[in-house]
């Protein structure tokens, strides 16, 4: 027994070569590893592993658990590199674990500044790796490089001032020799940005402000000085197309959230996807999902890229289930709108025009007395990772259905470091799971996994749940779909038709995206629920 374990550790160490950017680009060729937040630069959250499949999933069982010493939500997706699993224990502790046994190698504990004030939890969604260095963005708006072998920090760069409301909760994206992140803080009247840092030194290489400055194109879409405190945060990881050398990022809501009176105009580039030159950060194109947003419909969802057969020819597309309730397929070479339809109940807009711009519904705007609008402020979906399976050709969205809130508009005044909402929107559905059990009527909303055809925007199937879902989705080459929900279930569906194949109750909410890896040929599926990371494999 001892001898076997020793031999395994040695073999794992021997395999631990440098994680070059070439390996990250072609991570589909080594499905035993999970080298970036969404499992590849296309962000499909799809695993080519197929040991676990519909006809043996009944034998899936718990292999090990890592319990975070933290009461915060466990939102991180782990990385796996040659048998070592790296994850983040909230808020900002990096943990290296033997991916086969769950035994911990080391923990690097970073203590964020007491000035940190992330709006919505002291959380972190994961790491990036390049070479033998891990990268973590922190809730006090630092980017830290950590030696993946020892857990020792190599450099620490402050990217913005936490006392002004800047924070970072996302997993970084590595492109070539740079580490790209964005800043959260959209509820504090920040001026959001995406920035790239030299992976070796931590020195800033470029910065793209999500709100154009005076004299820059797009600044005129903000009335007066409103652009200075317009939000436009970035708190989910982007994607990358190596052929186009473009990196794609979703941008958050304009501020103040629910009162647009002082920021008349489209408020670029809030609620957009932006395509940036990965070397310079220059804007190549943008597409705005929700011009002049008054509903907090951040467009920070992970941009999912795929090559699809489109009316007889291959086309580079981007798929997007947006918080505003619409599903979109765009041409990612130029941002052209191809298809867009609601994937959940929407009343703020009557539809999309031929260019994909929403047609606002009359009267559907926040008011002093409150206007009931679908979807509510969490949206038709939120940050929960969707998945695209090249095997089924379907795009899967964790969906909030029949969900609404009365949107109340109120006066607000910007004060640095203080919340800047401009109103309120409280739905019967709690935004985060508290201590209450669920006895809420489904009339105020429920969770659904929706499978969409990206070519038509039509729903192909759905799997309905009783409570909402805050879980991401993983699909695999064996046509399995793994996801969870607030109820604490972790389930496997048939990705082709949505039939339930397997379930387990993990006892607390799943607020993370599942992922899969293998060690010594044995496939594992990992998901965080409550404070634990649960890892399953075949009996």
């Amino acid at each position: 027994m001892t001898r076997i374990a020793f031999a395994f550790v040695l073999s794992a160490t021997a395999l631990s070569a440098q994680v070059s950017f070439e390996r990250i680009l072609h991570s589909g060729h080594e499905p035993q590893n999970w080298l970036s937040y969404s499992g590849g630069v296309e962000s499909q959250r799809y695993s080519a592993l197929n040991e676990i499949k519909p006809d043996n999933i009944k034998n899936l069982e718990l292999k090990w658990v890592f319990q975070a010493r933290s009461n915060e939500k466990f939102e991180a997706t782990a990385l796996v590199v040659d048998g070592i699993l790296y994850t983040v224990q909230a808020p900002n502790d990096v943990v290296a674990i033997d991916a086969a046994t769950g035994r911990v190698f080391w923990i690097y504990s970073y203590v964020p500044s007491t000035e940190a004030r992330p709006c919505c939890g002291r959380v972190n969604r994961g790491l990036a790796i390049l070479g033998t260095t891990l990268y973590m963005a922190t809730i006090d708006a630092h980017l830290i490089a950590i030696d993946s072998k020892t857990g020792h920090p190599l450099w620490n760069t402050e990217i913005a001032k936490p006392e002004a409301g800047y924070a970072a909760t996302l997993a970084p994206l590595v492109v070539k020799d740079k580490v790209i992140i964005g800043t959260a803080g959209g509820e504090y009247g920040i001026r959001g940005f995406i920035a790239a840092y030299d992976a070796q030194t931590g020195k800033e290489a470029w910065r793209f402000y999500t709100i154009p400055g005076l004299g820059e194109p797009g600044n005129q879409t903000w009335a007066g000085d409103s652009w200075k405190h317009g939000g436009g945060s970035v708190w989910m990881t982007g994607s990358y197309d190596p052929d186009l050398n473009l990196t794609y990022w979703g941008i958050g809501n304009p501020g103040p959230d629910w009162n647009g009176d002082n920021r008349l105009g489209d408020n670029l580039y809030s609620d957009c996807v932006v395509a940036l030159d990965a070397d310079t950060g220059k804007l190549k194109w943008y597409f705005q999902f929700t011009p002049h947003d008054e509903f907090d419909y951040d467009s920070v969802q992970v941009p999912v890229l795929a090559q699809v057969d489109w009316q007889g020819r291959q086309r580079k597309v981007m798929m997007w289930g947006n918080r505003n309730g619409f599903f979109y397929t765009l041409d990612r070479t130029n941002g052209q709108f191809l298809v867009g339809k609601p994937f959940t109940k929407v009343t703020w807009a009557t539809g999309l025009d031929e260019r994909g711009r929403p047609m606002r519904a009359p009267g559907m705007t926040p008011s002093k007395q409150g206007t009931v609008i679908y979807p509510g402020p969490i949206g038709g979906t939120n940050w929960y990772s969707p998945s695209y399976s090249p095997h089924t050709g379907l795009f899967y969205i964790p969906t909030w259905e029949d969900y609404y809130a009365p949107y109340v508009k109120d006066k607000d005044e910007f004060k640095e470091g203080q919340l800047y909402f401009g109103g309120s929107a409280s739905s019967p559905v709690p935004p985060l799971r508290g201590i209450q059990l669920n006895s809420r009527s489904e009339a105020s909303g429920f969770g659904v996994v929706r499978a969409m055809d990206p070519k038509t925007g039509e729903k192909k199937w759905e799997y309905k749940m009783t409570e909402m879902t805050d879980s991401g989705i993983l699909t695999t080459a064996s046509d399995l779909l793994f996801t969870g929900n607030r109820e604490g279930y972790f389930i496997a569906l048939d990705a082709r038709d949505g039939n339930l194949l397997w379930k387990v109750l993990l006892g607390s909410h799943v607020s993370s995206g599942p992922m899969s890896y293998s060690v010594n040929g044995k496939q594992y599926v990992a998901v965080a629920a409550g404070s634990g990371l649960f890892v399953f494999g075949l009996r």
Partner: protein
């Protein structure tokens, strides 16, 4: 034992005010309802910025000053003088002080209301209060901390007007033909947890059910079954239920 402890709680609230006789408090309650309630509301908070039941007054602090306000009014405001003797005004003050000392509860009314609640009303045959009663309706031990008097009164006379999601009643019919009815505790995609009238906590697997129905409120309306003062007393009793 439980009955005794509740009595101690209520009686204790009365004993905390040695200067006011219970009959004066009762007389004050009657005078308040006929002279003051029209503007100030049953709980003395109907006028914005004015709260009469918690012992803090904007224009008075002593009992004598309060009597003066009741009998003379407040110049320059909408508060008129009342045609009451100083003794009557003193009874109203006793009532207000009594409510304040008992956390806004009308103790005498609450004690009468408890008698109606447990006797004529038969409320414990479904509800539960501090460990006594049944299980098929919500446990009311803490209801006075959760609901305003007007909401409680509405629930007594119009029980089906508004049922909170967590107070719904569930009827589940199993594939084997058995049926179970109870109060919803929680449910999710795969299961339902209920408690039935006998206090059995039952976990149901949805895959074993052929029907799952949420019923409208089984509670009868007490409109016309209780006279206005009985209704008011029951509400006062419910207001007094603040948990532990």
């Amino acid at each position: 034992m439980l009955r005794f402890s509740l009595f101690v709680v209520l009686a204790g609230a009365l004993c905390a005010q040695p200067n006011y006789r219970p009959e004066d408090v009762r007389a004050g309650a009657q005078l308040f309802s006929t002279n003051c309630m029209n503007c100030h509301g049953p709980d003395g908070e109907a006028i914005s910025g004015v709260d009469l039941m918690h012992g803090k007054f904007r224009h008075a602090s002593t009992d004598g000053e309060l009597v003066g306000i009741i009998t003379k009014g407040i110049a320059g405001t909408a508060m008129p003088p009342a045609s009451l003797s100083d003794a009557q005004a003193q009874n109203i003050v006793a009532y207000l002080r009594s409510r304040a000392a008992s956390g806004g509860v009308d103790v005498a009314a609450a004690m009468r209301g408890r008698t109606v609640f447990e006797g004529k009303g038969g409320c414990l045959s479904c509800h539960r209060v501090q460990g006594r009663g049944s299980f098929s309706a919500p446990d009311l031990s803490n209801i006075g901390s959760l609901r305003k008097p007007a909401e409680l009164e509405k629930s007594v006379v119009e029980p089906a007007a508004e049922i909170l999601d967590e107070n719904r009643t569930v009827r589940a019919a199993a594939n084997d033909g058995t049926t179970v009815t109870g109060k919803l505790l929680a449910y999710d995609t795969f299961g339902v947890q209920i408690i039935d009238a006998k206090g059995r906590m039952i976990s149901l697997d949805k895959s074993n059910l052929r029907e799952l129905t949420f019923l409208s409120s089984p509670m009868p309306s007490y409109r016309g079954k209780l006279n206005p003062s009985e209704l008011s007393d029951v509400v006062a009793y419910l207001v007094s239920l603040k948990g532990i």
